[in-house]
């Protein structure tokens, strides 16, 4: 193999083949997929409200993807559905509004495809984010205290002050309130719902 041009050509051809196969063909096959109209008249997937869109950026910036997947595997593959992480497998349509698509490859923590369905409690999500140990002892999730503000309590506690259990509560006279970023992140989490029945998800 002493002929340079042949080598060049082979090198070019091999990468071109996989680029066509794994990049171009998927783009042609389902890159133009559009939202569908449900019987109720609403669009699926819905456009995320502003807070949830900002929350998506918080999720991305703090690398939640490294421990949490956003994909539910089929009923007969793995125990995702038996664990109640979803009622059906997720399909391409579920992700067309995600920027970027954060499927994830790790489940150090549980899957979040349906966290907005599975645990819709805003106060729980905030408490858990502030310090995961306060609700889930033994968890290895890091605390996100930097998304909260611990400040001197006024005459009356702020309406959004966290109610923290004993060892995690702030010193007397202080209160913990979520910042805008924390509220946005929870908006995003609560918007994660991939439970609309879809024909291709059988």
């Amino acid at each position: 193999m002493n002929y340079g041009p042949l080598l060049f050509f082979g090198i070019f051809l091999t990468i071109a083949s996989s680029w066509c196969g794994l990049v171009l063909i998927p783009q042609l096959q389902f890159g133009g997929q559009q939202a569908v109209k449900l019987e109720s008249g609403e669009q699926y997937p819905p456009v995320r409200p502003g807070g949830a869109q900002r929350g998506e950026a918080v999720y991305r910036a703090n690398g939640c993807i490294y421990c949490h997947s956003q994909q539910v595997r089929a009923a007969e593959f793995g125990a995702d559905i038996k664990r109640n992480w979803g009622t059906r497998r997720t399909v391409a349509l579920d992700y067309i509004r995600d920027k970027p698509v954060m499927l994830g490859t790790m489940r150090t923590g549980p899957d979040l495809s349906n966290i907005g369905v599975r645990n819709p409690s805003r106060s729980w999500q905030l408490t858990h984010l502030f310090n995961p140990q306060s609700t889930s002892a033994g968890s290895v999730m890091p605390p996100f205290g930097f998304l909260f503000e611990t400040r001197k309590a006024g005459q009356r506690p702020a309406p959004d002050a966290l109610q923290l259990p004993a060892p995690f509560n702030p010193p007397p006279g202080f209160e913990v309130v979520p910042t805008q970023a924390a509220n946005d992140l929870v908006d995003y989490l609560l918007s994660l719902k991939a439970n609309v029945p879809l024909p291709e998800a059988k």
Partner: protein
Amino acid sequence: MSFDSSNPQDPAPGAIARQAAPSSAFSLPDDLPPAIQRERPEPLEGNHPMSLLFVTFVAVLFFWGGFYLQRFSGGYQPFSYNENTLGGGATNAPAKPLDPFAEGKRLFVDTCAKCHQADGQGLAGQYPPLAGSEWVKAEGAARIIRIVLDGLQGPIKVKGADFNNQMVPWRDVLTDQQIASVITYVRGEKGWGNNASAISAEQVAAVRQKTKTRPATGSWTAGELLKIPEIEADMPSGTNAPPAGATNSVSTNLPAAK
């Protein structure tokens, strides 16, 4: 194991001597760096043929690859997610009968234990306990079904302790069967000292129907619940047996999300 400390780069002193032997009549000029002087010639390739066994192995792999690709590609359709769909290997396993207690335990761990904790003890001052709770162990399930369906807000006394928090409604999230299973589990978990009767999906369905306007009003308060009799006259009877047609999959009968 040790390196030649003065010259760790060299393979072995003896080897160098052997290598240098052919050109003994000739020596390299001293002004070349020593590393260059001692290094071996640039690499070359030998011409050993490939073994036939290996060629056969490669051929078999190619054959397998073609077969697998054709068999498990779901017809190359963009929305065909199941690799078995067009291959004839149907995977629809027959539905297994459901054990409400086991399903309830799974659901509890995933959904309820986040607040009430896996041991059912809750968190002091935060989330009330379910283990030994008079609200859970009550003879009839009228109140607890309502709490799960539409949530609870405001002050409540459980096992003598006061709580004041907000429980979210599960009406649109869990099916009748799931709610029945999880309540059956919570009421019947002997490890917590609870030993109340199982409840059925029909009972949940009846309450769901009766309280269908409740979401507009908001979650229940303890005071409202106390006015409702524990055992309602028009309630279908509870049962331990799995309802006909129920399957192992929790995906059945789920109400469409709003």
